[in-house]
């Protein structure tokens, strides 16, 4: 039973891979991926219930393990993958570029491999396996980023592969050092990278070696989580990837990589105290926030704008992890959920936007609220959620984050983070207002206005449900409240 539950989130997308490999991408199979995503969500819910009632469970000799943090991340993967996969058929049909059956089939295959790799990464009980899964996400998404086949898309794919491979290689060096420290503390070869065992024997590890390992691990996994200094791939990759893939990368991949940092932090903090990871995460987080806020000011492309907003939120999450108190960790987990959902909706909406406007340039899209009210309303609501307006959950999590920061006597860092967030807020609000409410195109171009109510009910429903979930989480977090608190203890 346990092993089936733990294997479902990995096996379901792999089955969908077989479907696409065997039958190709056609009307009947287009939603096989959505079915796999729903199965991941169902397994996530079941695991969350079991884990909160009976504690962590593992299988395959501890290689796969579900604790509250893993169950929480799995819920996120399932929900956001459902939104992204449900939007994929209409995206592939309308986006135009490379919509041949061969490229659609490859798209389906790679997206499902991507989902399987992310499920493996969060369920891995062994840091080595988690590393392999995260590196695998780079390999499968490289071609998804370059899916359009244009010069810009290929350039983005190249940058993405090189920077993420280098980043993740640095994380591997960190793992090797951690393994070395664990072996010298008397752990066996099989246990030395096993997270629960490492945490239990943390006091026997050599502090100087662990400090070095932690520096490499934070930099390396930080690269994959979109944190400075190895962040340069993020705006390009998110800007060029197909919109549903951008939704997955921004809403799930970044937090999955970050959850590894949370897990490592637990071990490292027991060995060398909280100060080391706190300072490092503060520097990385504030640098990321500052870069994102400054580059948002003069942004000219709406997908890149959403990408920089992801960097801004990841920076904020890193600052929250630096605070590290249970309140702060609960807040960042809620923030991860809220940001992931809202950003997935925003990116998916940007895909529909591209399908009707045929451009991703900000200055070419104006007066959307008049021409396509349904899409404009969804996009606006997603941006409002990302800006942190109530009732959306990002309001609650940002407030809790600030409270936790002042309580932990990190007032200056929190004040700096808030100023930078405000700057990003102003830019994002200004650009979006221009898109939605601007005067409209000087000469009404025939193509965009030809089909104003193009957003079908089937494409609309997942987006509205996603936004409703963010709002519901903001009003009351009760369905995941216990899970959040348990996960925060695991990550603390």
């Amino acid at each position: 039973m346990n092993s089936m539950l733990l294997l479902t989130p990995i096996a379901a997308p792999l089955l969908a891979v077989l479907v696409y490999a065997g039958a190709g991408w056609r009307r009947a199979t287009a939603h096989a991926g959505t079915a796999a995503a729903v199965l991941i969500l169902a397994a996530g819910i079941t695991l969350a219930v079991r884990v909160t009632r009976h504690g962590p469970l593992d299988t395959a000799g501890g290689w796969l393990r579900a604790d509250p943090l893993a169950a929480f991340m799995l819920l996120g993967i399932g929900t956001i993958a459902t939104i992204a996969c449900a939007a994929s058929p209409s995206y592939l049909a309308t986006a135009g570029h490379g919509a041949t059956s061969g490229s659609s089939r490859r798209y389906g295959l790679l997206v499902q491999c991507f989902l399987a790799a992310m499920s493996t990464a969060v369920l891995a009980g062994n840091l080595g396996l988690a590393w392999i899964a995260i590196e695998a996400t780079t390999i499968v998404t490289a071609f998804l980023v370059g899916h359009a086949g244009t010069r810009a898309a290929l350039e983005a794919a190249w940058k993405y592969t090189v920077l993420c491979s280098v980043g993740i290689a640095l994380a591997l060096l960190g793992l090797v050092l951690l393994y070395d420290a664990a072996r010298h503390a008397g752990l066996t070869e099989a246990d030395a990278l096993n997270l629960p065992t490492l945490a239990a024997h943390a006091r026997a590890l050599d502090p100087a070696v662990v400090r070095m390992a932690a520096a490499f691990l934070l930099l390396g996994f930080g690269a994959k989580a979109g944190l400075a200094p190895l962040h340069a791939w993020l705006p390009d990759a998110h800007g060029q990837a197909p919109a549903p893939v951008s939704a997955l990368m921004s809403g799930v991949l970044l937090p999955v990589a970050f959850s590894q940092i949370l897990r490592i932090k637990t071990v490292v903090d027991t060995v060398v105290g909280v100060a080391f990871t706190r300072i490092m995460l503060l520097v990385l987080g504030l640098a990321t926030l500052a870069l994102a806020a400054l580059l948002l000011v003069a942004q000219r492309d709406y997908k890149r704008m959403l990408a920089y907003s992801s960097m801004e939120h990841m920076g904020l999450i890193a600052v929250g992890a630096a605070i590290g108190t249970p309140l702060a960790i609960t807040a960042i987990l809620l923030h991860i959920a809220g940001h992931g959902l809202a950003k997935a909706v925003a990116f998916t909406a940007s895909g529909h936007l591209y399908a009707t406007e045929h451009t991703t340039r900000l200055d070419r899209v104006t007066g959307l609220a008049r021409r396509n009210p349904a899409l404009a309303a969804i996009f606006a609501a997603a941006i409002l959620a990302l800006l942190g307006f109530p009732p959306f959950s990002l309001f609650a999590s940002e407030l809790a984050l600030a409270r936790a920061g002042f309580a932990a006597h990190l007032g200056i860092a929190i004040a700096a983070a808030l100023v930078l967030t405000l700057l990003a807020f102003a830019s994002l609000a200004r650009h979006t207002a221009a898109m939605l409410l601007g005067d409209g195109p000087p000469t009404p171009s025939p193509a965009p206005t030809a089909n104003p109510a193009s957003l079908s009910l089937a494409s609309r429903t997942p987006l509205i449900l996603g936004l409703a979930t963010v709002a519901a989480l903001g009003i009351t977090a009760w369905p995941i409240n216990t899970l959040l608190h348990l996960a925060a203890q695991a990550g603390h």
Binding site: L154, E155, A156, V162
Partner: protein, 217 residues
Amino acid sequence: MSTDADLLDLAAGLFLLAAVAILWRRDVVAQTKWLIVQGAALTGIAVVLGADERHPELYAVAAGIGLLRAVVLPALVRRAIEARSEDRETAPLINIGASLLAAAALVLLAYAVTQPLVRLEATAAARALPVGFAVVLIGLLVLVTRRKALSQIVGFLLLDNGITAVAFLAAAGVPILVELGVSFDLLLAVLVLRVLTARLRAAFGSVDLDEMRELHD
């Protein structure tokens, strides 16, 4: 045991020398030859450690490492060059002399930062550990200062060879299952990069990264 220690030092020395030689040669074909030498040196390190620590399974790992790092990966880079000859020059951002000086500084830095690791145990393997670190740093230097797509792949391979050397010298390698996964991922990453270079070449006409100016803010 002292001959084993000498052999280990020899292999580690050759390993570092190959990294410096890659920095020194401008021609990517010559660089791939040194990659082969480095792969062989890495295999040597694994074999000596296998004999020294009586880990028979290390021989199997060494064979796999040798096949991957000294044969398959350099051959992949080599094939990419044959397709187009004007990409052979590496076009460094800083001149060769300065690169070599920087490499010397990086080796010193590697010895300085790895002190805690060397202190952990007093074996010949641990004493050779800074060499692995130095190669990691030289790999990063190549990645930062060389502008051709192919040289970046070479830099990435240097970085990865360095990490594998650290893994062997520090703890006789990570668990075999993890080592297998890591090698497989590395192979796939290089294959992905190779396919991307081919496509970039079709789209841009060359794979000089300075030509890639489509995306900026």
